[in-house]
């Protein structure tokens, strides 16, 4: 389980994380939902220790990530998996070597067993037979699935997904969504998904955290969010252009700007 306490992160004048408090439970898929620029990626980078918060703590199994040494952080990361938005496959390695990479670096597992493990992971994502291809030979959806196979190859306790379905066709979106859900159930792990895609979010989420310009404006189960009476939440999940969430966020009054500038 991961617990976030009073997390603050600022970039220049922008508060990307504004006193966040939330938890990500084991065995559950939690989706961090929000519009672009709402601080989803920033929160994810702090959860993984890729970036240090200005204030506050991130507890993973009771240990505060923000106080750990690099070596301790690396030990925890060996039990984390992450699927990057652009898949982040190593472009100079074929698919097999990409997936085998963490095993080769961190374990002394024999080659024939590595081969078995990689084959199993590829079967799981439905891409057995692509071992010898290079990442550039795959479509975006296939790269995501390979990225997922690589993310789970060390049997992590936590998996992070950054926009796993953005830019994919509806079928690939469905496939990835189902994989996320199935994996979470089969391994009984903590799954954390960053997304702005409400449709697929409702399908895969157990819990939802809704971010709005650096603040959590709602959190709860899918049902709770769906039935929320908060105007901002309603506007976001129905994708309405008009409402309490303004379409623009410029400081200047529009009329002032066009008339007097």
């Amino acid at each position: 389980m991961i617990r976030v306490e009073n997390l603050v992160k600022q970039y220049g004048g922008i508060t990307a994380s504004n006193h966040l408090n939330c938890r990500f439970e084991k065995g559950k898929v939690t989706v961090i939902l929000g519009g672009s620029g709402s601080g989803k990626s920033t929160l994810l980078r702090q959860l993984t220790g890729l970036e240090k918060p200005d204030e506050g703590s991130v507890y993973i199994d009771g240990r505060d990530l923000t106080t750990l040494s690099r070596k301790q952080l690396f030990d925890i990361r060996k039990k984390m998996g992450m699927l990057f938005q652009g898949s982040a496959l190593f472009n100079y390695m074929n698919i097999f070597e990409n997936i085998a990479f963490p095993l080769r670096e961190h374990t002394k597992i024999a080659d024939n067993i590595i081969k078995t493990i990689v084959t199993m992971k590829l079967e799981m994502v439905g891409l057995r037979g692509t071992e010898h291809l290079m990442p550039s030979q795959l479509s975006g959806g296939m790269m995501k699935r390979v990225g997922l196979a690589r993310a789970v190859v060390m049997d992590p306790h936590v998996i992070f997904y950054d926009e796993p379905t953005s830019g994919l066709d509806p079928i690939s979106t469905g496939v990835i969504g189902k994989l996320i859900k199935d994996l979470n159930k089969a391994l009984n792990i903590t799954s954390i998904v960053v997304s702005h895609d409400i449709e697929s979010c409702f399908k895969i989420a157990d819990n939802i955290i809704l971010l709005y310009y650096g603040e959590i404006i709602a959190k709860g189960t899918v049902e709770e969010i769906r039935n929320s009476t908060d105007e901002r939440v309603k506007q976001f999940i129905h994708g309405e252009p008009e409402g309490p969430i303004p379409f623009t966020r410029t400081a200047k009054n529009y009329l002032d700007e066009i008339l007097y500038d």
Partner: protein, 255 residues
């Protein structure tokens, strides 16, 4: 006032970048000597920076030596000193042209490619991906390139020297009729250990400079396609200038 302030800001920024690149190279070198050692990564980089440069170095060296042969013969024959052609070719190449031309050719071939490679890794999030797999990107990606540069450049330079002197020999002895014994004999007698040592020191420094600038520029490139192409150009320009300036400094120190 405005101008003074912006010059000040720019200077400050430049100094910051220099400081960061210093920390960068220092950590990369320290990391190279800490376990785990990835010998296969190092061999791959030596192959890329070193072995794959042999042909281009061969051609550069051969023609440089041949031109020196013709030019040297022309100058020396005015004093009737053609017999000293071997010395002239050898000293020019070993002390100056070998290390410098070698470094410039490797910059164009490998330096720009290294920056582009790192830039692409950056655009596609491969550095945070390594971080998330509990692997230090600096140690995994940068350190082997730096070490490979420091190992490869002296070897390439030695090869350049050999081919260059041979080129001078081909033109001088075979084409222009300089006495064979004089070319080789005087050369062997005149080239001192200090000349060779100076050339090696230079090439070691150039190996470091090439890989340092190429990796730092790539690692800090703006993560867009334009950012990476700009970084690649910057690498070639910055490295070439640094090589020429450092060559002057080293020459004046070593003489």
């Amino acid at each position: 006032m405005e101008i003074a302030a912006s010059i000040g800001r720019l200077t400050l920024y430049r100094i910051q970048v220099l400081g960061r690149s210093g920390i960068f190279i220092f950590s990369a070198i320290v990391q190279a000597f800490l376990p785990p050692f990835r010998i296969s990564r190092l061999i791959k980089e030596i192959d890329f920076i070193g072995s794959k440069s042999f042909l281009i170095i061969f051609v550069t060296a051969l023609f440089t030596g041949m031109v020196l042969g013709i030019q040297g013969y022309y100058s020396l024959s005015q004093f009737g000193a053609e017999a000293a052609l071997g010395i002239m070719v050898a000293l020019s190449i070993i002390r100056e042209l070998g290390p410098v031309l070698c470094a410039l050719m490797v910059t164009g071939r490998a330096g720009s490619a290294i920056t582009a490679e790192l830039g692409i890794m950056k655009i596609t999030d491969q550095f945070p991906a390594l971080e998330m797999m509990a692997i230090d990107p600096l140690k995994y990606v940068v350190s082997p390139k730096i070490i490979a540069g420091i190992i490869s450049l002296p070897l390439l330079t030695a090869f350049f020297d050999l081919i260059g002197i041979t080129g001078g020999y081909l033109v001088g002895v075979n084409l222009l009729g300089v006495n064979e014994g004089a070319y080789i004999g005087k050369l062997v007698a005149a080239v001192t250990f200090k000349d060779v040592y100076g050339g090696i020191i230079k090439s070691l420094c150039f190996g470091l400079i090439i890989t340092w600038i190429a990796t730092f520029t790539g690692y800090t490139a703006e993560a867009t396609t334009e950012g990476v192409s700009r970084a690649t150009t910057n690498t070639v320009v910055l490295t070439s200038l640094s090589i020429l300036i450092v060559d002057y400094i080293l020459t004046s120190l070593l003489l």
